[in-house]
């Protein structure tokens, strides 16, 4: 028994076809090897922005293709890194006169495949910068060489980089900016039900009613700890306080991302945001910007993640700069813009 509404065989190819068809005015799907390209691009942009990774986390990344965000995306199979050749071709499609920046979530497969593509691009004379997103506090273990996983902060990185790239900034500046955003961000995720395994149609792991995976990842691996589900306010306080401890010191203006893991309702996510904002303000911090919704899910997992980013000068403007993509919402201010 497979997942209820996925076709037998390859679930990614038909979804990409449907996606490209539904958003034909914004994106283009290219085959052999599979990658997607934004149709529109700010003429000031001199560096192409390329992201990619396993599928099953939609709308990330392809939903952020378009003016103000990404130029090309290399989608892998479900939870599997894209092939280096996909990254290579996505990069060639995206490269500006100053080259490309790769936004890479910190997973071995992604690092290696983007790394190989970068080697090949350099052989072809294309400059490559790498932004490594590694925000997941649950994997902040000094013992491991693999480092923290990349999760929700990817959206923040992609948005800020996109806006900065639209101002014509160069490769090194963008690479530094992306890595600075990742460094200023930490995330933590919990789940009350595993995602449906694409292969079996059953939950990928079992959780008893009232249990919570604390510090869960986005690829169906279990968290290091399973806890009894605390009342929501206590849970949010605990997560926020751990995030504030893990977050490097910096400005007290925060961007807060409340991200759904797949099956979590907007009723839940906005309620969690209300709670999180209250806790942060009690701690003397300012919630300057926010994003609430299902942006980096793990298929249909029930749960949510919180991401905090300490905002440096100028980042708010980039966050609110208009983006014309399939999935990023309207954030620019009416009164400032007066479109």
């Amino acid at each position: 028994m497979s997942a209820p509404f996925l076709p037998a065989g390859d679930p990614v190819a038909p979804a990409l076809r449907g996606f490209a068809r539904a958003h034909a005015h914004l994106v283009e799907l290219r085959e052999d090897p599979v990658h997607l390209r934004a149709r529109e691009r700010d003429p000031r942009r001199v560096v192409g922005l390329v992201a990619g990774g396993g599928s099953g986390h939609e709308p990330m990344h392809a939903g952020f293709l378009g003016r103000g965000m990404l130029d090309a995306v290399a989608p892998g199979q479900v939870f599997a890194s894209p092939h280096n050749r996909q990254v290579l071709h996505a990069s060639l499609a995206a490269a500006g006169p100053e080259g490309v920046v790769h936004v890479v979530k910190n997973y071995t497969g992604d690092r290696i495949n983007f790394g190989i593509a970068a080697e090949r691009l350099r052989h072809e004379g294309v400059r490559v910068g790498r932004v490594l997103v590694d925000d997941d506090l649950a994997t902040d273990d000094t013992d491991s060489a693999t480092g923290r996983r990349g999760t929700g902060a990817t959206v923040v990185v992609e948005k800020l980089l996109g806006a900065a790239a639209d101002e014509g900034r160069g490769l090194d500046e963008l690479t530094a900016l992306g890595n600075a955003v990742a460094a200023a961000s930490r995330s933590l995720a919990v789940a009350s039900r595993a995602q449906t395994s694409f292969h079996t149609g059953e939950p990928a792991f079992d959780l008893a009613a009232g249990e919570l995976e604390y510090g869960v990842g986005i690829h169906g691996e279990r968290a290091a700890t399973t806890i009894d589900r605390p009342p929501l306010p206590d849970l949010v306080v605990r997560m926020i306080d751990e995030l504030l401890t893990g977050l490097p010191p910096g400005p007290g203006e925060l961007l807060v991302l409340v991200n759904g893991m797949g099956a979590t309702t907007q009723l839940e996510l906005y309620g969690i945001f209300d709670q999180a904002a209250a806790v942060l303000e009690e701690r003397g911090l300012r919630v300057a910007e926010s994003l609430v919704g299902t942006y980096v899910p793990a298929l249909d997992m029930a749960g949510f993640s919180l991401t905090l980013t300490r905002l440096r000068d100028g980042w708010r403007t980039w966050w609110r700069a208009p983006a014309r993509t399939p999935a990023f919402p309207v954030l620019d201010d009416v009164n400032e813009e007066g479109r």
Binding site: R111, I116, S144, A145, T146, E221
Partner: protein, 207 residues
């Protein structure tokens, strides 16, 4: 020391085919079990291209075969190891092209460097680097193909005592200890094939 690529690749493909089940078993213990498939299918495609009528004529010389293997493994082979082998083959092709004699040492060293740049593994992380680095060192010192093959085999066998810090095996922790790393065994088989191409009686006693 000179050897052309194609006979080495043919011999390598044979020994990988023979070792397929063992390589699969090793990757099942420490990873997801696809390493034997990835390597064998890559080499099968390479040989198919080499055996295409007229292929031998396209680009004769010491490097031929490795350029094909580099492209096939970079472009078409899956898993973490596929493109890493692709980097090695590409660097071997480049070096043998420049210098059919000294190319083996230079190419192996450059392949190791590329693999480490991309994969970020050090010696001791329980990866194919643990077989490749000693082989590169022997070739550098000029001690010959057999010495390099023995060093690679030794490095691969020694991974059985290591805890993985890179790759999928790092997630299973202690569970894989006792068995060697499949990728390292795959690299050792390559250098065994190289030595055996020069000296058909050679064996590093791997599988």
């Amino acid at each position: 020391m000179t050897a052309t690529a194609a006979p080495v690749l043919r011999r390598y493909a044979e020994s990988v085919a023979a070792a397929h089940d063992e390589l699969t078993r090793l990757d099942q213990a420490s990873g997801d079990g696809d390493f034997g498939d990835n390597l064998r299918s890559g080499l099968t495609r390479v040989l198919a291209e080499l055996d295409r009528p007229g292929a031998e004529l396209d680009r004769p010389g010491a490097a031929h075969g490795f350029d094909v293997a580099g492209r096939v493994f970079l472009d078409e082979v899956g898993g973490t190891s596929g493109p890493l082998f692709g980097l090695l083959f590409t660097e071997l092709a480049r070096a043998l092209d420049e210098n059919p004699d000294g190319g083996w040492a230079r190419g192996t060293a450059a392949g190791l460097a590329a693999i480490q740049r991309v994969g970020e593994a050090e010696v001791g992380d329980r990866t194919l680097v643990d077989a490749l680095a000693p082989a590169a060192a022997e070739l550098e010192r000029g001690t010959g193909f057999a010495a390099a093959a023995r060093a690679a085999a030794e490095g691969a066998r020694a991974t059985a005592d290591l805890r993985a810090r890179r790759g999928r095996a790092s997630y299973v922790g202690e569970r894989a200890r006792g068995l060697p790393d499949p990728g390292a065994m795959g690299v050792a088989l390559l250098f065994e094939a190289l030595a055996a191409t020069k000296d058909p009686g050679f064996s590093a006693g791997l599988c």
